[in-house]
């Protein structure tokens, strides 16, 4: 049983609780305040910036992390990044950007650091009782809020594979988030496992730092360089969206012909679906390193044994260091699973329009999507919609009920069929379809009420 400093919950009236002060949380706080809500934001760590802050103890940053989507496609729509920054800013620049966003809109004074939300309980119909557990001391506090927005992200609970014999393996094993410094790779025979963006980036770091690098990849994926046709790749592809439909397919194929042929030459099979279906790997250096032999590609690991690693194709190796760049599991600890539509054996939330709780009207999640494009603008429009929704709900219950029906009908339209085997594919959406759907939702919310 938990001990509470006071039995009675402190009522915060119409205020909204935001959980997490990473990029999504900050955007949520700013958009809610712009719509006139009082906001309390709780951050488990002692710093803001979430995954972009290396001081955050759950930070997933690895050596030399850079954005994989370009500046113009990643910046928050109403707060552009400085235009003298490079096309692909570094993690440190992202942190600078988020810090100046928080400072510019005066968000810091609404953030409570070192406060973990251990649970939220629905009370009095649509309100919530939030249990805040401070990092120091054990007296939890109870507060009541009109609404809760969860922005805890999905890049902090490492997803570790389990290969036969892994518990008896006696070499060094690190998850990508534990590899903070490229000097750990120096002079070693490194095995990098995982073909996502982090795996490919770390393989490239190992290619120049380690004495040898083997990259174990289970399945093919789209590989895009960071520049296509003289422009940042995501911008070049996005720009084709402005063309008429019959031309778009042709122009996209023409743009992707080079990268696809290179991938084929390197023995990577490309999924049938275009690179927009699931997050492509965006790294222009990787195939150069594969091409000059500093990275050796292998298939899946069959089993580990002592110091040996055996691959499915029968080859064996003896690495000094294994880096598992196997990504993260989506994990929401703040709210009871059933409120987010997690049921049965699936651990993935089933949300309406990828943001609203299917059970309660005033519970929403920001940023729990993998759109395959820059996620900050998506979160901006999500929280814009959530803030407007809370606003409409307060003033006009009839419109709110109609809106609810629309959201339910929208929810099915941008699912990417779950073909991928890795955890993040459960969160994948088709960016264009999802944005169109968000646009319809926002339009409905911003309409003048019918008199």
């Amino acid at each position: 049983m938990q001990e509470y400093s006071s039995q009675a919950a402190y009522d915060r009236g119409e205020a909204v609780c935001v959980i997490g002060a990473g990029a999504s949380g900050l955007i949520a706080v700013k958009n809610l305040r712009e719509n006139g809500f009082e906001v309390d934001c709780y951050e488990r760590d002692t710093v803001l910036g979430g995954l972009w802050n290396p001081q955050n103890q759950h930070s997933p940053l690895y050596p030399n992390t850079h954005l994989v989507t370009s500046r113009s496609q990643t910046e928050i729509p109403d707060f552009p990044m400085p235009d003298d920054w490079p096309d692909y800013p570094s993690a440190a620049q992202m942190l600078t950007y988020l810090t100046s966003y928080a400072k510019h809109f005066g968000l810091s004074e609404h953030i409570w650091y070192g406060s973990e939300i251990s649970n939220i309980e629905p009370v009095e119909g649509s309100r919530f009782e939030v249990i805040v557990k401070p990092a120091a001391g054990n007296a939890a506090r109870r507060l009541r809020y009109a609404a809760v927005i969860i922005a805890t992200g999905h890049h902090w609970a490492p997803n570790l594979p389990a290969y036969p014999g892994q518990d008896q393996y006696r070499g060094t094993v690190l998850h990508s988030s534990q590899l903070k410094d490229a000097s750990r790779l120096r002079g070693k025979n490194v095995l990098v496992v995982g073909g996502g963006n982090s795996g490919v980036d770390i393989a490239c770091e190992a290619a120049v730092n380690a004495s040898s690098c083997v990259h174990s990849v289970r399945r093919g994926s789209w590989h895009l360089p960071k520049y296509l046709g003289g422009e940042p790749a995501d911008y070049a592809l996005n720009r084709l969206g402005a063309r008429p439909k019959f031309l778009r397919r042709f122009l996209t194929d023409r743009l992707l012909k080079g990268p696809a042929r290179l991938a084929a030459r390197m023995g990577v099979d490309v999924p049938d679906r275009g690179p927009t279906g699931e997050e492509p790997v965006r790294n222009g250096r990787y195939f150069e390193h594969v091409g000059d032999g500093s990275i050796t590609r292998r298939g899946e690991i069959a089993h580990l044994d002592g110091f040996e690693v055996a691959f499915a194709d029968g080859t064996e190796m003896r690495p000094d260091l294994i880096v598992f760049a196997t990504g993260y599991r989506p994990k929401v600890t703040a709210a009871p699973a059933k409120l987010l539509g997690i049921d049965g054996d699936s651990q993935y939330p089933k949300l309406l329009a990828r943001m609203f709780s299917p059970k309660l009207e005033t519970l929403a999640v920001a940023g729990l999507v993998e759109p395959g494009v820059g996620v900050l603008p998506i979160v901006h429009w999500q929280t814009h919609a959530i803030a407007h929704w809370l606003h409409v709900r307060k003033g006009d219950p009839e419109r709110a009920a109609n809106f609810r029906r629309q959201v339910v009908s929208e929810s099915a339209q941008y699912e990417v069929e779950p073909g991928g085997a890795s955890p993040r594919h459960q969160l994948a959406v088709d960016a264009e379809a999802y944005l169109a759907s968000l646009g319809r939702i926002i339009d409905t919310l911003e309409q003048e009420p019918a008199k």
Binding site: E34, S72, Q73, P77, D78, F79, P80, P82, D83, D84, S100, K103, H104, F105, G106, Y235, N238, R239, G241, A242, P377, W381, H384, L435, L438, G439, I442
Partner: protein, 209 residues
């Protein structure tokens, strides 16, 4: 800014980046003990259609705004004052203004004079300004974008312009009545008319922000 406007913008090439001339004055820079820095007051960012750019505000505006306890800043958009000439029309100039606005430490009030007023109106469609002050607007867009975050809007025109087409367009777009000042719309940077105008703007700001 609406989602569709953002989607369209993300698909158009960004204007060429230029090094912008940016002048600012903080209340503490005035070395006057009587002036109190007001941390709650929104900073003010000025721009003008005058080719002198930011330098035009040096004579009076920046000092007077800082003396009221606000962070005062002015920017020269491409082609003005100390900023290099670069390609791009009004959209690029609005981009310059937004870039200068995010550089200001806190959410800023945009003050635009002459063509600067139309750039400020476009910028306010992309950046949630704390307020929008349009002084004698010129070449004002027919359908200015809806300002993000619903900032308060102030329109100030000279007495001779009170009935002009521009003033009418702004009134229709934002639903605000113009405030008039005595004097010529091009002589707002110094002289008694300029002081009267500035006092009016600052007292409006003091009430709103």
């Amino acid at each position: 800014m609406s989602l569709t406007a953002w989607v369209r913008r993300a698909r158009t090439p960004a204007p060429v980046a230029v090094a912008r001339e940016f002048a600012y004055l903080e209340p503490a820079d005035l070395f006057d003990l009587d002036i109190k820095d007001d941390p709650e007051a929104s900073p003010a960012l000025c721009c003008t259609g005058d080719p002198a750019g930011a330098a035009a505000f040096n004579a009076l505006w920046l000092k007077r705004i800082a003396a009221s306890g606000r962070y005062a800043a002015a920017v020269s958009v491409r082609g003005q004052g100390g900023t290099a000439v670069a390609e791009g029309g009004v959209e690029a100039r609005a981009h310059d203004l937004v870039q200068a606005a995010v550089n200001v430490p806190r959410q800023a009030v945009l003050i635009g004079h002459r063509e600067g007023a139309s750039w400020a109106a476009l910028a306010a469609g992309r950046y949630p300004a704390a307020g929008l002050v349009l002084v004698s607007p010129q070449k004002f867009p027919k359908q200015p974008p809806k300002p993000v975050g619903n900032p308060p809007v102030l329109l100030v025109v000279s007495e001779s312009e009170a009935q002009s087409k521009e003033a009418q367009a702004v009134t229709d777009a934002y639903g605000v009545a113009p405030l008039t000042f005595a004097g010529s719309p091009d002589e707002v940077f110094k002289g008694p008319a300029a002081e009267g105008l500035l006092d009016a703007v600052l007292s409006w700001l003091a009430n709103k922000n």
